[in-house]
């Protein structure tokens, strides 16, 4: 079994790291090389499982008296997310071999390498666990390993705070998930998912409560509003290759949980769940991209854009649930296909963007977009790869982002044609919001790419930047190729998804996505057909014509200075990222609530300032109006409850006695 081999590879890598703990270089190669090898095995096992289409179920151990057994199950859904994991982890691991030399102090390399291997193994276990205990254990290990990686540069207070925030939010999520699992398990009388997720274990308001718990619990990992706050803090704090893995895979484990347990695990969804998800997804997508636009920190920008994409995925899930509750499993399958494909696509292009951002950060020593500029000439390969990722994430054909956004659009519009009642007007509105999201994403990535890579450098560090070694460029190039390949040939991925979605409970049956090698069709009768390859060829043909029109043979292009209104133009005159996003910040002022402070700094007379200080910031709405009061309340409660924790052994024994007596009375009463 390839999966076991991958897990063994992780263990071996960890053992070698412990043995070589005093030799950071060897340790780095062993841990990340081992992780790359294991990830290749994960891809192979995922492809094998997707190709066979069967369910591989293995019982590891059983306890005879209770009937409890630890088991692993690789079904289509697990295999699909294993594919996402492998597709991101392999390039990330290879990239990390040279990158980690610069990203973390040598003495800390073994710890980071070990934590990375533990993280990869735990994600795999989360995806294949067949029962609650293994799942929750792996889930918790995953959160802890991530915390360790986020805190890998814990000299900076901001990073420590980010790690703490991540840990706290993760545990709120885990708490919700465990509560939901326990409710289901007590209803089913078993801890195995096969018994818990039959769809009629819980009913009525309990079922809705369980759904909400799953949505909140897994929503924390997935980065949904309003429990997204850890994401823009933790992603910039972690080393960039780790951020790539977090954005590409870790966030998707939340989506995995929502799909497996919330969307298809609780029987036919209630109509209100789908509607709530549609609204939540739209809101998450819009606010995610709006906040992304306002960022000046490249990695924070990418982190907020991850929130946006999680929103797009959830829009598809909402549409799927509404179709399912309206008795249209075929359309539900369509929405799920759109979401799952977007999960893969986002993993690919966001992994790529974070790796490119990592190279930029390594070359300049800064994450501030305003101190970049002109990097395309100094880092041509990284710049080209980033451009491909930026185009893909903006949903531009014929790259892969367009494919899944097209599917999401179709899913919304098909629902509109088949769901009865006024509620269906939500679908075209959702589609318009999705269009707004993707247009804003294009603006956001024009800004990110333009301010980082184009024009002239705005700092000495950017002037002296040079491209990363081949070992770091190749993983990016591979991911960029994947963006193009998945965009031009969506057939194989859709074919695999056809089987994955077709095997899910509640939506079994024909998925309406036509999955020819070059064709995507929606609905029967089809309301739309796309052949991305023809679009690509038409573009190529038109490009050739345009090139021919401006072709000047061998006569050189005359180069001259950019017109500077009569003076010399310096890099300071460039339009910065802040300036670029200013109009949108003003238009969406109700969301941002921007404030600015302009002060003229003068020595003597205020009429002769020697400098002007300008500071603009946007209101951190969620942090200020939701989390600050919440934190205050929790601290206040903790202060009050401190009385209970008096440090006296007698008092503690008295609590236990009181609890015991109370339980006996309660149990006696229920008999």
């Amino acid at each position: 079994m390839l999966l076991s081999a991958a897990l063994i590879a992780h263990v071996v890598a960890i053992v070698i790291a412990v043995a070589l703990v005093r030799r950071p270089a060897a340790c780095r190669i062993a841990t990340f090389g081992g992780a790359a090898f294991a990830s290749a095995l994960i891809i192979a096992s995922a492809v094998q499982a997707l190709a066979s289409g069967g369910v591989d179920h293995r019982v590891l151990a059983t306890h005879a008296a209770t009937g409890f057994g630890l088991s692993l199950t690789i079904d289509g859904l697990a295999a699909w997310f294993l594919l996402i994991q492998g597709a991101v982890a392999l390039p990330v691991a290879i990239y990390s071999i040279p990158y980690m030399r610069h990203a973390v102090p040598p003495a800390r390399t073994p710890v980071v390498g070990i934590a990375f291997n533990v993280l990869l193994a735990s994600v795999t276990l989360v995806l294949v666990s067949g029962e609650v205990v293994g799942f929750v254990f792996a889930w918790e290990v995953m959160s802890l390993a991530t915390t360790a990686l986020v805190a890998s540069e814990h000299e900076h207070p901001a990073n420590r705070r980010a790690a703490y925030l991540y840990l706290a939010m993760s545990h709120v999520g885990t708490g919700c998930v465990i509560a939901a699992f326990l409710t289901l398990a007590s209803g089913a009388g078993s801890l195995a998912f096969s018994d818990m997720l039959t769809g009629h274990v819980v009913t009525g308001s309990t079922r809705t409560a369980v759904f909400v718990l799953f949505a909140v619990g897994f929503g924390v990992k997935a980065g949904l509003l309003p429990v997204h706050v850890w994401l823009p803090e933790a992603h910039p704090a972690a080393p960039s290759s780790i951020s790539a893995f977090m954005s590409g895979v870790l966030v998707k484990t939340g989506i995995y949980g929502i799909v497996r347990f919330g969307v298809v695990g609780l029987g036919v969804p209630d109509p209100s769940w789908g509607l709530a998800f549609l609204l939540l997804g739209s809101l998450t997508a819009i606010l995610g991209v709006l906040y992304a636009l306002a960022q000046q920190d490249l990695k924070r920008l990418l982190a907020y854009s991850t929130i946006e994409n999680a929103g797009i995925i959830v829009i598809g899930l909402g549409a799927a649930m509404m179709a399912s509750s309206a008795g249209r499993p075929d359309l539900a399958a369509f929405g799920l296909t759109a979401s799952l494909l977007h999960a893969l696509n986002h993993a690919v292009f966001k992994g790529l963007l974070f790796l490119s951002a990592g190279s930029v950060v390594m070359a300049t020593g800064s994450r501030d977009i305003e101190s970049f500029g002109g990097l395309l000439r100094r880092m041509p390969w990284t710049g080209a790869c980033f451009l491909v990722g930026a185009l893909a994430i903006s949903g531009i054909p014929p790259l892969n982002g367009f494919t899944s956004e097209w599917l999401t659009f179709q899913s919304l519009l098909l629902n509109f044609s088949s769901v009865p009642g006024l509620v269906r007007l939500n679908f075209p509105v959702g589609a318009a919001l999705l269009a707004l999201t993707s247009a804003l994403a294009a603006a956001c990535y024009v800004k990110a790419f333009g301010a980082t890579f184009l024009a002239q450098p705005r700092s000495t560090a950017a002037t002296q930047a040079h491209d990363a070694p081949w070992c770091m460029v190749m993983p990016q190039a591979a991911l960029a190729l994947a963006c193009v390949g998945l965009g031009l040939f969506p057939g194989p991925a859709l074919g695999a998804l056809h089987r994955v979605v077709g095997a899910l409970p509640g939506v079994a049956g024909a998925s309406p996505v036509g999955a020819g090698a070059f064709t995507m069709t929606a609905g029967s009768p089809a309301i739309d057909v796309v052949r991305p390859l023809i679009v690509g060829l038409a573009l190529l043909g038109a490009l050739a014509v345009a090139r021919a029109l401006t072709w000047r043979g061998r006569s050189p292009v005359r180069r001259t200075a950019t017109w500077g209104c009569g003076g010399a133009l310096s890099a300071e005159a460039e339009y910065t990222g802040t300036a670029f996003s200013k109009p949108l910040i003003m238009i969406f002022g109700a969301v941002y609530r921007p404030t600015r402070e302009v002060a003229a700094l003068a020595h003597g007379s205020p009429y002769f300032p020697h400098a002007v200080r300008y500071r603009a910031r946007i209101e951190p709405t969620f942090e200020r109006f939701l989390y600050a009061p919440l934190t205050r309340t929790v601290l206040w409660l903790a202060e009050r409850m401190k009385v209970l924790q008096a440090g006296s052994l007698h008092a503690y024994l008295a609590y236990i006695l009181a609890l015991g007596v109370g339980l006996l009375i309660w149990l006696g009463g229920t008999r």
């Binding site: 318009a432 333009g450 002239q456 309301i527 052949r531 038409a538 029109l549 005359r558 180069r559 003003m586």
Partner: protein, 315 residues
């Protein structure tokens, strides 16, 4: 739908070439009509072609600080405008490459051109380019959902997002004169104004830094590069006009390919393009340019009209 690749390619090339040939004339005639309304003589009708020929003959001059992105901008912009023409039916009730995609591919292709040109504008390091790019992307971000919502209202009524299929359904059903059509027409007309950079959203004739949007973005371009940008903008404008015609008054479009029917379709299309051009001219001549921060309000009206159209149609 055309499935034979050779026929489709030939048709695509012919239609794209035709639109490329006519587009400068439409631009110039709008300028001419506008001038006449202001009691000016205006340019001769062939001025658009003369400008293009002159620009295409000039040497290529580019900024010394710019990278390949700057050189690629006009080429990609032109290519996307040309590619976009192949998804729209013009004279025949079928788009040449309608097998490749419908409304969403059309909008996505145009988005690619905009992305390329905006990135290129940032490349010279001139603040004008950045300002233009920022404003263009800002307006596009709000115009794109308005465009899609308007198109969805029309497409959902016909049951297809494919423009060829849509036109054929409209023809076989006949005009419905449903009030929602008027609403989405009004909404899409606003988008047409915004996307083609016309007053009251943008002014194609200005070179004053405070008022430029599209012109600021392409300010640094000269010679053949500028020719590509200008030509592509003209094609894009004609494309939007044709889109409006296809969705609301497709009558006259050829359903069978005979010389007679094509001639009738060409005459009808020309007449309808002229009518829309007059509407664009009148809008340009009777309105003042809006402040940049008032433009979103106009586009919000367009969004609202699109939503009302959907509501009326499907209530």
């Amino acid at each position: 739908m055309i499935t034979d690749p050779v026929t489709a390619t030939g048709f695509a090339v012919l239609q794209a070439a035709g639109l490329l040939a006519v587009a400068p004339l439409v631009r110039t005639s709008i300028a001419k009509m506008k001038a006449r309304l202001q009691n000016r003589q205006g340019p001769p009708l062939l001025q658009g072609y003369r400008d293009l020929i002159k620009l295409l003959r000039k040497e290529v001059v580019r900024s010394e600080t710019a990278s390949w992105v700057y050189a690629a901008g006009p080429v990609v912009y032109f290519a996307t405008a040309v590619t976009a023409t192949t998804f729209v039916p013009v004279l025949v009730a079928a788009a040449p490459l309608e097998a490749a995609g419908g409304i969403l591919v059309l909008v996505g292709t145009l988005a690619l051109g905009r992305f390329a040109l905006a990135a290129a504008a940032l490349d010279t390091g001139s603040p004008f380019g950045g300002m233009g790019a920022s404003r263009e992307m800002t307006i596009a971000a709000i115009a794109e959902p308005a465009l899609l919502l308007g198109l969805f209202a029309a497409a959902l009524a016909a049951g297809s997002l494919n423009l060829g299929e849509l036109v054929r359904t409209l023809l076989s059903r006949g005009q419905s004169y449903h009030p929602s059509e008027l609403l989405s027409l009004a909404g899409l007309f606003i988008v047409l104004i915004a996307e083609t950079g016309r007053i009251p959203v943008d002014n194609p004739a200005t070179h004053l830094e405070l008022t430029m949007i599209h012109e600021a973005m392409v300010l640094e371009y000269a010679g053949p590069d500028l020719a590509l940008v200008e030509w592509a903008s003209a094609v894009k404008e004609l494309l939007f006009i044709t889109l409006l015609i296809d969705l609301f008054v497709p009558i006259g479009i050829a359903t069978v390919v005979t010389p007679g029917s094509i001639a009738v379709a060409a005459a009808a299309w020309m007449a309808k393009v002229f009518v829309v051009s007059v509407a664009v001219t009148l809008t340009e001549s009777t309105n003042a340019k809006l402040r940049l921060f008032r433009v979103p309000e106009l586009l919000a009206i367009s969004l609202g009209l699109g939503f009302l159209a959907l509501t009326f149609r499907f209530l």
